[in-house]
Symmetry: C2
Subunit: 187 residues, 2 copies
């Protein structure tokens, strides 16, 4: 059975992230990926989760507290373009996840935008370990979504194949702008 892009992304995370690892959730959002990552890194691991919205940070904090996993997670109420300030060591991170677009059930006028997204993706590739995985779920149905999708595809498809494998995984016969996954593996 074919997995959805989101399910496939989670399967890749489970393969890639091991106990004790450091990982980043670049868009904490409703905290679902942050929670998954906190489980995967185990008690000796560390998750850094970014979000520019106080609402997203609060929802994520609540989920982590309910699961008793909050001490593994460093919540950053800050834009993901600041990754290098928070996490300056290159090749130290096993996996990084992005969900581009708006906060589901939140204010749909607050969206990720190409300038900061590209800056954050570039920083992500720097901090990513060899064999590490940068997973970008591209939601592009909102105003401005097509422009961001195009900028991200241009960025990803230009990455040198000597250093990165860039996979596009998506359904191509669905209406209503379904999201797709870009999975970028550092070689």
């Amino acid at each position: 059975m074919l997995q959805s892009p989101l399910a496939f992304s989670h399967a890749l995370l489970k393969q890639t992230v091991h106990a004790g690892d450091s990982v980043i959730d670049a868009t904490a959002g409703n905290g679902n990926d942050t929670l998954l990552l906190a489980n995967l890194v185990g008690k000796d691991g560390r998750v850094i989760a970014f979000d520019i919205q106080e609402e997203a940070i609060a929802i994520t904090r609540e989920k982590l507290l309910a699961a008793g996993l909050n001490d593994r997670v460093d919540l950053q109420h800050n834009g993901h373009e600041h990754i290098l300030e928070i996490c300056p060591d290159s090749e130290s991170i096993s996996a990084i996840v992005f969900n581009l677009g708006y906060l589901p059930k939140g204010d749909k006028s607050i969206v990720t935008i190409p300038e900061t997204t590209l800056k954050a993706l570039d920083a992500s590739l720097n901090v990513l370990k060899k064999k590490g995985m940068l997973l970008v779920m591209v939601y592009h149905g909102h105003p401005g979504g097509k422009k961001e999708k195009s900028a991200v595809l241009d960025f990803a498809s230009a990455l040198p194949q000597e250093h990165f494998n860039v996979l596009n995984y998506g359904f191509i016969n669905q209406k209503n702008d379904p999201p797709f996954l870009l999975a970028i593996e550092k070689r």
Copy 2:
């Protein structure tokens, strides 16, 4: 780790094909997929393998004989556009594989072409079981390859999402026209 389109296709086949199933290799070629399928269907299963080239049929027959699996395989020295003549029962086949392009190490002037490929894909969707999988590896680096790629993508992306999931799986940062996989699941 990210699987190549071919490895991902084989992983999907292993999930989809069970002992006793009937399956089709629409382009036997060097017989590698035919052999994999013959293993997967077991002693009570059946593989129908098509190829228009006598050379491909001979290579495939030799591989099957060496593995002692020839009695599970019906080798058809015929174009795959004749699927419905050989296999008239709708929804009877668990998996169908295509490798578009030319026979590796063979005569590179003999290639699959849009007209017969589209006819064969259409027939394939008819004979495919529900939950069955049509897996198309699209090699498109040869003369005419871009035209066929475009025709197949148009065909696949127009399939109704109520009846089919159509996944595109491919690396987007590689030079030299890397092949990609279209995986079509009947719902």
